[in-house]
Structure formats: C-alpha cells, structure tokens
C-alpha cells in the first residue's frame, strides 16, 4: 500500500480512536450517574472540557521535564495506536494496521511504559509530593498487573506459536468458538482479571486516588498540559481495550465491532469499579498474586505440555 494512503488511513483511525475514547469516557460516567439515579454529564462534556482546558489564559511551567511529561504521555498513546493492528481485514498490510510490525506483543507491552515514563518524569519535576506518591503506586501496580498478564500472553503465544497480534487475531477468525476466550479459558480469565488493574478503575484507581492524594500525578498540571493528558488518556484507554480485544475476544472485523467490543471491555472494569472501594497498594499487589496468578500459571501449564 502506498505510504501516503496508509498515512491517511492512520490519521483517520487516530481521529476515530481519540473521539471514541472521549465518548466512551462520557458514556461510562453517564452510566455511573444513572446507576446513582442522576442525569449525569452530557455526552459532549469531554470535548467541552478539552476545549476549556486548551483555552486557559495563564499557565505555568516547572521546567523542561514538566513540558516533556504530556509530550511523552501523548506520544506514548499515539505510538501505542501506531503499533497496534486495529481492524482485521484479512491482509497483513491492510488499511487499519498502522505501522505495527503485525502488532509485535513484546513491542506493545514495553511501549506501554513509554507514556507512563513521561507522566512519571513530568510529575516529578512538578515537585509535588502527591504526584510522586501517585507515580510510585502506579508503577508498582503496573508491575503487579504484568504478572498474570504476561503469564496469559505467554500462554497465548505458545498456543498460536507467535508473538504477533495480527496472527493471534487471524487464528481467532471464523467462529466465536475460535476466540481465545473459549480455546484458552485460563489465559482469558487471567487477562480479564488483569484488565481491571490495567484500566485503572476502582478498586485499582489508587494512582489518581481522587481526593486522597489530590489527583495523583496530574496534580500540578493545568490548562493545555491537562488537555494533552486527557487526549492521551482517551487514546490509551481505547488502546488497552483493543489490546485485550485482540488477544482474547477475537479482534474486530470492522470499526463497529471494535467499538462494541472495546466498550464492553471497558464497561467490565467500570462495572466492577461501581461496586468495590479503593484498594491500598499492598492489597492491590497481593490481589494479583492470588487468583489471577494461579490462572496464568494454569494457562501456561495447559499449553506447555
């Protein structure tokens, strides 16, 4: 495919992902509000918030890393999008596969950290103690989440003998029974539980922990910086959901399917979050060491013999 055409598709895809991410966020809040018996925010509230944040008149800076924080974060999000095959069209070089090397899993897993790193460094330069606390919690939880997640991913990699997301999705085509959810239930269960931590809703929302440590890493960020971070947040939420969709739920053949599946995946974590209060960091870490870990080990044992 021509590189320019591909670029155009990629930009279009990015636009869809950003907007879908914001809409998804708004919808989740709306659902939360309805569960509490409220009207809740209007669906277009995220765009207004973004606009307002970009239109603040005064702004501050703490230094060069404070600048780079949102930049790292957003390029982490966009990079994640670029390295992920979005919609499965049956061709390796299809229109929605971006620049993904067929979606190399190792690349994706390590690149997730890129955005986090930016956030961590930017918040650090801000000099606010709560930012640093939030980051410390966030990184620790990320490491804990990776335990069941990696176990499950390795199990899937053994199952299909590949580390390419594209090939994993390809292998799940045909019937709903070909999904990893049914062919490798232990891995799927481990991923579904690990997802809760990765998406960072209650009870695993100790990174931001609103009102406990102000708002965690973003405490010192305002205006345009915050706007960048919100955009990045929207992208990253969708991309996390898409990653799990590709791994476990058979990928997507069209944007509609992607939207529905990512919505349901995201909703799962919001649904759990509605019921459970926030964990402490040690509770969160040990939680991943229990059931999800055992499931992950079972998943590997199932496929390694």
């Amino acid at each position: 495919m021509n590189i320019y055409v591909k670029l155009a598709y990629t930009l279009l895809g990015l636009l869809i992902v950003i907007n879908w991410g914001m809409l998804m966020g708004a919808t989740m809040r709306k659902i939360g509000a309805r569960m509490a018996g409220r009207h809740g925010i209007p669906f277009h509230q995220p765009w207004i918030n973004l606009l307002k944040n970009f239109s603040t008149r005064t702004t501050i800076t703490h230094g060069i890393m404070y600048y780079l924080g949102p930049v790292f974060r957003l390029s982490g999000g966009v990079g994640l999008f670029l390295f992920m095959p979005m919609v499965f069209t049956g061709a390796v070089d299809g229109p929605w596969t971006n620049f993904s090397f067929e979606g190399d899993l190792v690349l994706i897993l390590y690149f997730q950290v890129f955005g986090m790193l930016g956030m961590a460094l930017g918040a650090g330069e801000g000099g606010h103690p709560y930012s640093a606390m939030g980051i410390a919690r966030g990184l620790a939880q990320h490491a804990a989440v990776e335990l069941p997640l990696t176990l499950a991913i390795v199990s899937i990699a053994i199952q299909y003998d590949t580390l390419s997301i594209y090939k994993i999705v390809e292998a799940q085509q045909g019937s709903i029974l070909n999904w990893v959810l049914f062919t490798n239930p232990f891995a799927a269960a481990a991923i579904i539980l690990a997802m809760l931590g990765a998406l960072g809703h209650s009870p695993f929302n100790l990174v931001k922990a609103p009102n406990e440590i102000l708002i965690g890493p973003a405490t010192e960020y305002e205006g345009t910086y915050l706007g960048f971070m919100m955009t990045a947040g929207a992208v990253i939420h969708v991309m996390e959901a898409v990653l799990f969709m590709n791994l476990v739920f058979g990928g997507a053949n069209s944007w509609l399917e992607l939207i529905v599946k990512s919505f349901l995946i995201y909703f799962w974590s919001v649904f759990v979050g509605m019921v459970f209060p926030r964990f402490k960091i040690e509770q969160s870490i040990t939680w991943f060491f229990k059931v999800p870990f055992v499931l992950g080990v079972l998943a590997i044992l199932m496929y390694s013999f």
Partner: protein
C-alpha cells in the same frame, strides 16, 4: 669451588673465635659474624649455581677421611645446595636485621646465632642419623637460648616449653636411632634406606619412632602449642629465622628420612599434613595477634608441604618444582612478614592500620600476602597450579578439595589482616621508625620474590614475554607514582590504547568484542581520572593490573595463561574496590568470593586437563574426566564474577562503595570477564550435546532467579550506587539466562545485553559517581531536584534508564525482544515470565533513581552545585552516542554478532531484511521505531511549546499545597522508603537467605576455630600431653590399626 665442609668449619671457627674477637668491640664482632654468614651463603650459592648449570654432580664429603659407617658423611647435592642457600641467606639477612639486638646483648648471643645457622646447615647436609640427632639438639638448644635473649616472662616461659618439648621429641628420636642401630648396625641414612627396615620384624616401630619425632619437629596440628608460643613471644627477627630457616631445614630432614619408611607411610604423612594445614588455618581465623597468626600460617604451610611430600610419587618429576614454588614463597614471604612486624611494632591486627602511613610498606606487605596466598606472578601460584593439575590427573580430587579449602581459610585471615592495614582506623596510632638495617632484608626478600616468580614462570607457558609486558607497565606506573594525575593518566590511557592497537588484529570476533569492552571501555573510564587533583597515589598501578588481567584472559592460549590473567585481574580489582571510603568489609567479601571462585575454576581446569597432554584452551571443548562436574566447577568459578544468585553478596557493597570512576570499571567492565569465561565454557560444551542439558537448565533457572531477586533488592535501596549494583546483578542474570538458552537467538540476546549493559551501566555509574562527587552523599533521599543544576547528568541518566528499562525505541528493547523470542522458542516459559516481571520492577527502581536524584525538590545545600565534571562527561557522551547509534541502527552490530554466533549455533538464526530483524515469532526494525516515535514526539513537543509559549516559569515551592506552603525541601520531597507499600506486599522476597547462609557458614568456621582454640591452654603440661596423645593416636592409626 670451596669445599662445603667450610660452611661448618668457618662457622664453628668463628663461633669459638668470637670469645677472643669479642674483645675488639661489639661492632667488629658483629661484622666478623655477618661476614662469616655471608661466606657460608656464598659457598652455598656457588654450589647451587654449579648444580643448576648441570655441570656438577652430587658429592659426598667424608669427615675424618673414613667412609661410613665409621665416619659421618655429608652430602652436597642440588637439594642440599638449595636448602643451605636458603638457610644461609635468611641467616645473613636475619643477622643484619638483628644488629640492634646483638648490640644490646652479650657477645655470646652471636655465638649461639652462628651455631644455630651452622646446625641447620649440618642437619640439611648430613647423611648420618645420629649426627642428625645431635645437631637437631644443638639447633633446639640454640633456638631456646635465643628465645631467652628476650628478657621477659612470656618469652622465658615459651623458651622453656620449647626446650621441654624438643627434649621429649629428641628422646623419642634417640630411642628410635638406638633400635635402628640395633637392628641394622648402621647409622647412615643411605644404608638404613637400603636395609628396608619395615620388612624386618620390629622395624616398623623403629621407623615410627624416627619419623614421628621428625614430624613432631614440623609442629603438626594439634601438638604444636609449644612452637606457637615461641612465634608469638620471641622477637620478630627470631621468628623469621625459626619460620623460614629452621622450618625449611626440618622439612628437608623429613624429606630425607622419609625414604627409610617406604611408601605406605606417604599416605599418613599427607594425612598429618592435611590435618595440620586445615587445622592451623582454621585456628588462624580466630587470631588477633599478628605474630601468632603468622605462626599458624607457617605451620599451615608446612602442613601443605607435608601433603605434597606424601604425594611425591604421584607428582613425580614435578615434585621439586611444586615444593620449590610453595616453599620459596612461604620462605621469603614469611621472613618478610616477620621482619615487617618487627618494624611496624603492631601486636594487634587492627593496629596494622598504621602501616598505611608509609604506603611503601603497604606495598611490601601486599607483596608478601599475595605471595603466600598464591597469586601470580609469585612462585606459589605456579606451584599450586601444577599441584592441582597433577592431583586431579591422578584422581585425587578429595585432596584437591583439602588443599583448596585450607588455602581458602588462609586467604580469609590474611586478607582480613590486609583489610585492617588498608582501611582500618589509624588516627590514634603513632608512625613507626625505620632503621636501615631492618629495611634491607625486607627489601631483598620482596625483590627476590618477584625475581623467583619470573624465574618460575619461565618454566611454564606463561613465561612468554607477552604476559609480562602489562605487568612491567604496572611496575612502571608504580615507579612514577609520585607524578601528578594528569601525567600518569595520559600514560595509562596511551599504554592501553597502544596495547589494543598491537593486539586486536590477532583476535577472533568474540574476543575482539570483549577486548573492546575491556580495553577501549577501560581507557574511556580512565578519562574521568583527569577530574581528580593531586597524585591519586596507588590508583594507576592497580587499575592497570586489573586491565592486564583482563587482556590476559582474552589473549590466553592456554588454560594456565587464562588462570594467570584471571588471578591478576582479581588482585587488581580487589585493590581498586578497596580504595573506596567504606569498602573494607566489601573488599574482603569480594576477594574471598573471587578466590573461592578461582579455586573452583582451578579444580575444574584440572579436571579438564585430564587426558590431554597440553594446556591449550581447546581442552575445554573436550573434557573427558567427569565432564559434567568439571563444567559445573568452571561455571561456578565464572558465576562468582558475574555475581549469580547465591554468590552475589559481595557485589552491592563492592560496587556501591567504590570510588566514582571505579564503579563503572568494576561494574560495566569487570563483570564481563565472568561472561567471557561463560561464553568460552558454553562454546566448549557445544550446542547439541544433550549430556549437559541439566546443567544449562539449572544455569538458566539460576539466571532467571538472579534477574528477579536482583531487581527486587534494587527496589528497596536508599543508596544510589547500591541500587545500580543490584541492578547489575539483575542484568547479569539476563546474560546468564540468555547464554544458558544455548540457541542462536538466546546468545544474540545475551551479547546484545553484554553491549547494552556495558553502555548504560557505564553511563549510569559514571554519572551517578560524578553526581556523588558533587553533592557528597550516596543517599538518594539527600539529593533531589538536581535537574536544575545538572542538566547534562540528567540527560545522560534519562537516556540510559530508558534503554535499561527496555522501552522502545532505545537499544534495551532489542535485547528484550531477542530474549523473549529465544525463551519462547526454547520453551522456557516461566523463566520468560519471571524476567518480564523483573523488567517491570526495573522500571520501578529506575524511576525512583531518576526521580529522587534529579526531580522533586532541590535541597538547600545543593543550590550552587555545578554540573558534573567535563572529564566525566566526555566518556559519558561518547557512550551515549554509541547507545543511540546502537538503538537506531541495531543491525550494524547485531548482524556481525549474528554471523559470529552462527559459527556455534547455525540453526534458528535471525534473518535481516534491511533494518528489519525477523524471527519466527515476529519482526521489528530499530530505525523505523526510532523514526516513528521520534517524529510523533517532536510534533507534539512543538505543538505544546507553541501553545504554552507564554507560560510563567515558577520556582520549586510554587505548588498547590492544600492552601498551605511547603516548609522545607526535605519534607516536601518524596524520596525515603518510596516503595513502602510494595514492601508490605513482597517483603517475603527480600529475606536475605543467601546472606544468612554465608553468615552461618562463616560463623560455623569461627565457632569451630574458637572451640579448637581451647586446646591451647598455654601451660607446658598440656602441650606435653598433646604430644603424647598425638604420638599414641598416630601409633594406633598407623601401626596398631
């Protein structure tokens, strides 16, 4: 040629004449005596040279003109010439040393001294057993007399005990001689040998009596309390004579008389030797008195020599070489150390810190200690090598273990002593005085050690000049130590680059890679040395010593050369590490683990040598004797250097407490020596050999566990350099795991890690070291906000931690990607998961490093600190450029590496399509990654810069603080115990099991030593009882049993 009888005659004559000459005044008397000793030494030397050149044959001297058995005959052969030379030289030097004491004492002391030396000569030369007895008595009495010379209660008691013990022993010997004469009718040793006493009925008891009394003269453990008190309480000059001359002569007597007994006795002599060697070295652990410690060491060395003597049939032609190497090292070193203890006048080991006030004496002490323990280039190194090779070759692995275990114990207390000397508190101690006459002997023996070492080396493959050029360079640097840093640094760097220029054309790819890391990396690390002011005394010789060892192991063509380089490197790095401010305990644990590892390596190489006639490095490819065990031993040897789990406890302290520019040397560079060794061994094991699958499997798990525990420990460190040190442990675990995979991808990953770890750990240690130099603390929580003051350091650290964490697009990712592909292909899934988790944890501690040091709140006292020194920045930025190039064009390095590895692992190669690496599981391209991420990053950055161009620059306390204001940076900076929550979750993984294990081991040894020490109650009766019990037990074992 002067007749050897004149040794005796001149001594006797002068001894009698002293009565008359004494009237001419003390100085003249002393001069006469010393010239007599010199004359005696000259005679021995003359004979020795003659024998050495091979022109002379053994001669017999018949006293009184009759042939034996009627007369006493003396023999002068090669051995006799050598031993009399040793005795006379130490007599002469000891005489010079004792001049001031002689001046104070009456002239009779001179007579006694002369008689002592003369007696030693006779017992070496005589072939008559009764004559032997007589002169042994003379020696004992004169020693006791000289001990009494020191007029204090302790030495008088010691002398008395000595006298009683030796009389008991002499009595036994006399009875034995009487029986021998009764049975055989001759007193001539040669005749006795010919008679074959053991076959005669009752002959066994005769042999037993004679041998046991001579063995008792060698002070076997535990019947040696009488001798130890002498060592402890007599003057050091006399201690040197007893330890070097008397013991040497007694040993020769044993070797001479042993032939009477026949072969069945050899085993028992070795056994007694082994018990003595282990026992006295064990007791040495508990000593805090320098002279008594030297006494234990002397006895231990005699035990080792007895072991060797017992094996002289097996060693065959090598026996003289081995005995010579060990004996001569012991002889020179022990004499030198006793003399040093007389100069330094420190009784307690801790007081030896005073020696540091005169650095040259420290050098002497180091020389003697390293010679005792058996480091190259000293003779004992070559002797131990040959001994182990021969013992393993004959299947006596147990004995190898005994020898190495005893040597290990000896190394423990000697290095602890050395540690006190180098790093102990010495403010309260007064500087010692130096007398010229005391200096000369010490000087001479130290020089002689080097000379004999070179001479010994000439008899082996190491003798080639190439192995001595780096050492000569070390010597040159030692000689110009008084010059300022700038000059020495330039010379050192130039020397290393020159060496590289000459060496590199001959190296194959793997060796070239490591040579670049060692030598070019080392030269880069030395650039930082320009930042230091003053002389930096002693740094350059030891640094170059380490590099000499490193290049030695690269260029080694034989296992001996390899081991030679390995030991040089160990010694050099030990000195480098111990230069740090608080590094004494860590230096000790480093050198002990290194020696332990080296002994494992030695044993393994010995096993590898079995069945081969040469020592070429290719014997590693085909080990015939217990190959799995041999490989395991060699691998353990290398793993001590890569600090694998269980053998890692030396590393954090050693790297963390080392000087700022030493840390990168010992971390980024030195650790690769172990990796290089592993590479060689694993190549030798071969890719397709199923025999070793269990070994590589275990190695793989060891690597994986090292990875995870290293990173968990790094998580909870407060000290920046210790954090990096634990991180190094973890990274080396990756390399070990990658190598253990034994596939193309695994090795490629491991080599990528080798390069990466060199690059980023070098940068990190260098930068943090430079920061530490500026801010004056290692503790991360005492730093903070330094990005404002040190942007250059920050950039360096930022880039290297991104690489270390394996975040794309930097080069760490290449290593991780190869790694997981390799592990999944191999089917090592859980190891893969473990390493993946560990990289998540790595990100945690790296964030902490960069956050607590560079971000957050700037501390008040760091407001005016400058950025890191330019000299530190140069190597950092050179390597940063390297890191970025490697990141964006990995194919430039990985493709040649792949070709190189394909030689050993032809299957499962990584294929390349331009810049894209393709494995069976996926593909990836460094440059595309770089361009993609870079361009997005720049786009967003420009956008943000434009939209916030009017941003107001605020200061550090302009933060939202719930309506309040922060009071101090210290209370606002999140830095101490950051991962408390994580600790609560995973504290179980931080229990220091390994450290507890090693502590238990050392405690067990110490407790055993402490318990055994109760034997030595200090009173003469119990010492006599020991002797009797020893005799009875030996009798029961040998004859009765």
């Amino acid at each position: 040629m002067v007749d050897p009888i004149h040794i005796i005659s001149s001594a006797l004559g002068v001894a009698f004449a002293i009565g008359i000459v004494g009237k001419l005044g003390k100085n003249v008397t002393i001069a006469v005596m010393l010239s007599t000793l010199a004359f005696m030494a000259f005679i021995s030397l003359q004979w020795f040279m003659a024998f050495f050149s091979g022109e002379q044959e053994t001669t017999q001297i018949f006293t009184a003109g009759f042939k034996p058995p009627i007369s006493i005959n003396l023999q002068m052969g090669f051995n006799e010439a050598l031993f009399t030379l040793l005795v006379n030289v130490v007599g002469l030097l000891g005489g010079i040393y004792l001049i001031d004491i002689f001046k104070k004492q009456s002239k009779n002391v001179l007579t006694v001294f002369l008689v002592l030396i003369m007696g030693l000569n006779v017992i070496i030369m005589t072939r008559d057993i009764f004559n032997l007895f007589v002169f042994m008595e003379i020696v004992s009495i004169s020693i006791a007399g000289l001990v009494f010379m020191d007029e204090n209660l302790k030495s008088s008691q010691a002398g008395l005990k000595y006298l009683i013990a030796t009389s008991v022993i002499a009595g036994m010997l006399l009875i034995g001689i009487i029986f021998a004469y009764y049975f055989t009718g001759t007193l001539n040793i040669d005749d006795l040998i010919a008679t074959n006493l053991t076959t005669i009925k009752g002959g066994g008891i005769v042999v037993f009596l004679i041998l046991i009394s001579i063995i008792l003269e060698l002070k076997p453990f535990p019947a040696n309390g009488w001798a130890l008190d002498v060592y402890e309480s007599s003057t050091p000059g006399l201690g040197a004579i007893i330890s070097a001359a008397a013991a040497t002569a007694s040993f020769f007597v044993l070797s001479k008389v042993m032939d009477i007994a026949g072969q069945e006795w050899y085993y028992y002599i070795s056994l007694i030797g082994a018990i003595t060697f282990i026992g006295s070295n064990l007791l040495g652990l508990k000593q805090d008195n320098a002279k008594r410690l030297l006494g234990y060491s002397s006895i231990g060395q005699l035990g080792l020599l007895m072991i060797i003597l017992g094996f002289r049939d097996i060693l065959g032609d090598q026996t003289p070489y081995v005995i010579f190497g060990i004996l001569v090292s012991h002889y020179f070193a022990k004499a030198g150390l006793f003399w040093l203890s007389g100069i330094v006048k420190a009784q307690k080991l801790t007081d030896w810190a005073v020696i540091r006030k005169k650095p040259f004496f420290l050098f002497l002490m180091g020389t003697f200690l390293f010679a005792l323990i058996g480091f190259p280039p000293f003779p004992s190194f070559f002797a131990k090598w040959t001994l182990v090779m021969e013992l393993v070759g004959s299947g006596n692995v147990t004995w190898v273990i005994i020898v190495l275990f005893g040597s290990m114990l000896e190394a423990v207390y000697l290095f602890r002593w050395f540690g006190y000397a180098i790093k102990g508190e010495n403010e309260h101690l007064e500087v010692f005085k130096i007398d010229l006459h005391k200096m000369i002997p010490v000087w001479i023996v130290a020089l002689a050690l080097y000379a004999v070492g070179y001479f010994t080396a000439q008899m082996t493959e190491v003798g080639a000049t190439i192995n001595f050029i780096p050492l000569a360079f070390v010597g040159v640097l030692l000689a110009i130590d008084f010059l300022p840093v700038f000059v020495k640094n330039t010379i050192a760097i130039a020397g290393m680059l020159l060496h590289f220029y000459f060496v590199y054309p001959d190296l194959d790819d793997i060796r070239l890679l490591f040579e670049v890391i060692f030598i070019i990396g080392g030269a880069l690390a030395l650039i930082a040395g320009y930042a230091y002011k003053g002389k930096r005394s002693g740094f350059y010789p030891v640094a170059i010593l380490m590099y000499a060892g490193l290049t030695g192991i690269i260029e080694a063509s034989t296992t001996l050369e390899f081991f030679y380089g390995w030991e040089l490197m160990t010694a050099g790095s030990y000195f480098l590490i111990i230069r740090g401010k608080r590094s004494m305990p860590h230096g000790l644990s480093y050198i002990l683990f290194s020696i332990g590892g080296a002994y494992a390596l030695l044993a393994g190489l010995g096993m590898a040598h079995v069945g081969h006639t040469t020592f070429g490095m290719d014997i590693l490819n085909n080990i015939q004797y217990l190959p799995v065990w041999a490989y395991a031993l060699i691998i353990i040897g290398f793993l001590t250097k890569t600090a694998a789990l269980g053998l890692h406890i030396w590393l954090p302290g050693a790297h963390g407490e080392a000087e700022s520019d030493v840390s990168p040397m010992v971390s980024a560079i030195l650790l690769k020596a172990g990796v290089f060794g592993l590479v060689l061994v694993l190549i030798g094991m071969g890719a397709e050999n199923n025999q070793y699958e269990m070994l590589t499997y275990a190695l793989g798990w060891l690597g994986a566990l090292t990875v995870i525990l290293g990173s968990i420990m790094a998580l909870f460190q407060e000290d920046a350099k210790r954090l990096l040190a634990y991180s190094s442990i973890s990274q080396l675990g990756y390399i070990v795991l990658g190598l253990a995979v034994m596939s193309h991808l695994g090795w490629l990953g491991a080599f990528t890690y080798v390069i990466n770890h060199f690059l980023y750990k070098f940068i990190l240690f260098m930068t943090l070291g430079a920061v530490v130099l500026r801010v004056g603390t290692h503790n991360m929580y005492q730093m903070g906000g330094l990005i404002k003051r040190m942007p250059i350091a920050f950039i360096a650290v930022l880039i290297s931690i991104i690489a270390l964490a394996g975040i794309p697009p930097l080069s760490g990712f290449a290593g991780k990607w190869l790694f997981y592909n390799a592990l999944i292909a191999k089917g090592w899934y859980f190891q893969g998961v473990i390493t993946f988790i560990s990289s998540g944890i790595a990100f945690l501690y790296l964030w902490r490093l960069i956050h607590t040091v560079f971000l957050g709140q700037l501390k008040d006292n760091h407001r005016n600190v400058k950025d890191i020194s330019i000299w530190f920045s140069i190597p950092i930025f050179v390597l940063l450029i390297g890191l970025l190039t490697f990141s964006f064009k990995p194919e430039w390095v990985l493709q040649p590496l792949g070709n190189m590895i394909a030689e050993f692992f032809p299957t499962g190669q990584l294929t390349w399509n331009g810049g894209t690496a393709i494995s069976q599981y996926g593909y990836w391209s460094g440059s595309v990654l770089g361009i993609t991420i870079g361009s997005i990053f720049m786009l967003i950055l420009i956008w943000l810069l434009v939209s916030t161009r009017k941003a107001h620059k605020v200061k550090q306390f302009d933060i939202t603080y719930s309506g309040e204001r922060p009071e101090r940076p210290e209370t606002t900076h999140v830095a101490y115990n950051v991962f408390e929550g994580v600790y609560k979750a995973i504290w179980i993984a931080t229990i220091p099991l390994v450290e507890t294990f090693w502590t238990r081991v050392t405690n067990l040894l110490h407790d055993t030593a402490g318990f055994t020490r109760r034997l030595y109650s200090g009173d003469g009766q119990s010492y006599m009882l020991h002797i009797v019990v020893f005799i009875v037990i030996t009798y029961l074992v040998i004859i009765g049993g």
